[in-house]
């Protein structure tokens, strides 16, 4: 095969000699994924620190060391980072980039240079978002939802955050676009849609949401900026504008966005469960279709955020009804995973522990979501700690837990080394206990009427806040512990070999570990299902030089 421009440098511009510039300009999907992870976890820890500050403030009633305005900015900072910088791009940008092309046997994504550009667009977005921290007017205090008309009136620097969210949205759209074309065009010969690993299905459904929902929030933010600086009137009641329209437009994106977060996470779950049960996944097609239908129904349920906003009663009923429907495909997935484990040879490695822990936490998060999808109950619980706890059980206990599961699962693939299993398990247990202690009391506090986003509270809520605080301490120590385990694994870990977990999908059939540039030595022909096990052993074996099947 003749050498192309891409073969020689794997860089977007020129042929840099220095290692640093080779990373900065790389178009290699694996390197881009790793750089995404680095940037994201940098911001993740800032947001965790902000959240911890808020927990400290809430340790006792009354103001401790933060006034109300600072607290408003703190929860906005936490929300903006966690949503726009971390969890929305999260799994697709990290593992969608690193693993998805490997899983379908492609050499790279369809538009490698666009991928590089997208990464830097994302970085610019993060910088713009953070830059208002250092201006006089200060960071936005609107909450991450930027509800009009307050976001139009506030004197803080909300413009930076709006522009940043727009840029990050662009990056998200381009990522989705790239993945959609990649999945349609670059699957290895023989691999039809029903032979794709389920993580790829998750990424595919996600990419559609990224592509078709993000533009709506993009234009909403532009309209908000136009409103703020040019007074077009559509969100400003003084000119007849209706703030409910803003909420409609905002949630048309932002509700599908939570499915955008959870679907690739479910994909990771679908990878881990069969591998550590040594059994073919139960109901492959049901899981694949449920991913697609969660994405589809997810478009139609945004209105449950508007129950108390003055929407028409008919619309409320329809939205409530549709919202219940999302629980059905989600339930199908959970039963399929449990059925996969039944009579399987379950191996409790760290990735599997995280997956099993998520089944518990996400079930709590999901079912509490069904309760507040009911209009009557929601009138009572809207904007209380109950909603906060539900959201964090679903997002932290669902998406982030599975992100951690994926990090353990693909750690040997990315680094070529193995972390310490024993310490990995300990860090899981610490975080699992800390997580539940942190968030479960909030369900009770919220049920008794503790409102969210307040920096002060009545004395009777003190016990819940203090329990939460101790949970936060435990959780964060577990988090730090886990990253220490990763760091030690990366620097001092034993070489892992190409397929340490006895997994079946194509990303474990590479000639070396970590994978070489341009991935598989030859593109394989795929005539097998993704999770074929026979008596607890993978069926498909390859000669890693020629990528011919040798079983």
């Amino acid at each position: 095969m003749s050498k192309t421009y891409f073969d020689e440098t794997h860089c977007a511009i020129g042929h840099p000699k220095s290692k640093f510039m080779q990373w900065m300009l790389t178009v290699d999907h694996k390197r881009i994924g790793i750089m995404y992870a680095a940037v994201m976890f940098f911001y993740f820890f800032i947001a965790v620190a902000t959240a911890f500050m808020m927990r400290l403030e809430l340790f006792a009633p009354g103001g401790q060391f933060m006034d109300g305005d600072t607290f408003n900015q703190a929860f906005t900072l936490h929300g903006v980072i966690m949503i726009f910088l971390f969890i929305v791009p999260g799994i697709p940008a990290i593992f969608g980039n690193i693993v998805m092309p490997l899983m379908i046997g492609a050499k790279d994504v369809s538009f490698p240079r666009l991928n590089w550009f997208t990464f830097w667009l994302y970085v610019v977005g993060t910088v713009v978002a953070m830059s208002s921290l250092f201006t006089d007017a200060g960071f936005a205090d609107t909450g991450w939802t930027f509800y009009a008309p307050y976001s139009i009136n506030t004197s803080t620097n909300v413009i930076f955050t709006l522009v940043a969210a727009f840029i990050l949205g662009m990056a998200s759209i381009l990522t989705g676009l790239n993945f959609l074309v990649t999945i349609h065009r670059l699957r290895a010969p023989g691999m039809d849609f029903w032979k794709m690993p389920l993580f790829v299905w998750g990424i595919y459904a996600t990419a559609w949401i990224q592509l078709l929902a993000t533009p709506v929030v993009g234009i909403t933010l532009i309209l908000a900026i136009m409103e703020k600086y040019f007074g077009i009137g559509i969100f400003d009641p003084a000119k007849g504008g209706d703030p409910v329209l803003f909420e409609h437009l905002f949630w048309i994106y932002s509700h599908p966005a939570v499915y955008l977060m959870i679907l690739p996470a479910f994909g990771i779950m679908s990878e881990i469960i069969p591998v550590f049960s040594r059994r073919e996944i139960f109901g492959y097609r049901a899981i694949a279709i449920s991913s697609a239908s969660i994405a589809g129904i997810g478009y139609l349920v945004w209105g449950h955020h508007l129950y108390t906003s003055g929407m028409a009663d008919t619309a409320k009923v329809i939205f409530s009804f549709l919202t219940f429907f999302v629980a059905i495909p989600t339930g199908i997935k959970f039963y399929d995973w449990i059925a996969t484990m039944y009579k399987g040879k379950v191996i409790l490695s760290t990735p599997m522990l995280w997956a099993l822990g998520t089944i518990i936490t996400f079930t709590i998060g999901g079912l509490t979501g069904v309760t507040i999808a009911m209009i009557g109950v929601d009138i009572h619980l809207q904007d209380t700690y109950y909603t906060v706890a539900h959201f964090h059980y679903a997002m932290l206990g669902g998406v982030v837990f599975l992100l951690f599961a994926g990090m353990h699962y693909w750690f040997p693939l990315v680094t070529g080394k193995m972390y310490d299993e024993k310490h990995g398990k300990i860090s899981f247990y610490i975080q699992f206990v800390g997580f539940n202690l942190l968030w479960f009391p909030m369900f009770i506090a919220g049920y008794y009427g503790m409102p969210r986003r307040y920096f002060d509270y009545l004395p009777e809520f003190q016990i819940y806040h203090q329990l939460s605080f101790f949970g936060a301490v435990i959780f964060i120590s577990g988090l730090v512990y886990m990253f220490v385990v990763f760091y030690k694994g990366w620097t001092k870990g034993k070489p892992a070999g190409t397929n340490p977990w006895n997994a079946t999908t194509l990303e474990w059939h590479l000639p070396s570990s970590p994978p070489p540039l341009e991935n598989h030595s030859k593109v394989p022909y795929v005539d097998f299902n993704p999770y074929e096990y026979h008596h607890g052993h993978p069926v498909v074996k390859f000669n890693y030089e020629t990528m011919q099947r040798i079983d």
């Binding site: 003749s2 533009p215 040019f230 559509i234 000119k239």
Partner: protein, 229 residues
């Protein structure tokens, strides 16, 4: 570029050979990617049309009155200008595909001129509205004026949407100039014209958006009331 891209061959267990689609030289992939991008444009303008329909439902009469006061003559001329520019763009692409590079470049120049004409006419229109006291953050559009809510919202969205559409036209002109440079550098050739193809698609979507913007703003109030300013 050092040498043309040669696709890899994958062999299955029976020894049959299958050509592997690489990301390189993927005409259909490039086209598909650009279509996906255009969907985001549709969603963006769709959301703005939704805002428009939202207030139209709340203030139907104000919208008719405001629409009647727009200049239908200039709007109509612009519609035709854009229509012909879509033709020149299409013919340019056709010429490129059959290898008539020089004619293709001429057609792109014609499109650029028509696009500029569109912007100039739009500018005259906006100026006339400004002189009537209707412009963003100006006179009638301020919160204190006596213009009814519905009309204010209509014009607010009118300037936003036609402005954003005009912004797309400006980007389109930039893209076409870039395309001409690429053709001159022989990076876009009859056997490698994906960029030309996609820019033609872009121009069509800009036209397509105008096809809906025009009647919603200029024509809904045309019944019963004749003439513009």
């Amino acid at each position: 570029m050092s040498g043309p891209y040669v696709p890899e061959i994958a062999t299955d267990r029976d020894g049959n050979q299958h050509e592997v689609q690489g990301w390189q030289d993927d005409f259909y992939g490039g086209k598909l990617g650009f279509w996906l991008f255009m969907f985001t444009e549709v969603l963006m303008f769709g959301a703005m049309f939704m805002a428009l329909a939202y207030y139209n439902t709340l203030h139907p009469q104000d919208f008719l009155d405001a629409s009647a006061s727009l200049n239908r003559l200039l709007g109509g001329v612009n519609t035709v200008v854009l229509l012909i520019s879509a033709l020149t763009m299409g013919l340019g692409l056709l010429n490129m595909r059959v290898g008539k590079v020089k004619e293709a470049k001429l057609m792109i120049w014609a499109t650029i001129i028509l696009a500029a004409a569109f912007l100039v006419i739009k500018g005259f229109e906006w100026r006339a509205e400004y002189n009537h006291g209707i412009f963003l953050m100006h006179d009638q559009m301020l919160p204190g004026s006596s213009l009814p809510f519905g009309q204010k919202l209509f014009f607010g969205l009118y300037f936003t949407m036609t402005g954003l559409h005009g912004f797309h036209i400006i980007i389109g002109i930039g893209l076409m100039i870039w395309l001409l440079k690429r053709i001159n550098a022989e990076k876009v050739r009859p056997d490698h014209h994906i960029l030309h193809w996609n820019i033609a698609l872009y121009w069509d979507i800009v036209h397509l958006i105008w096809v809906f913007v025009f009647p919603y703003y200029y024509m809904i109030g045309a019944g019963g009331v004749t003439g513009g300013h």
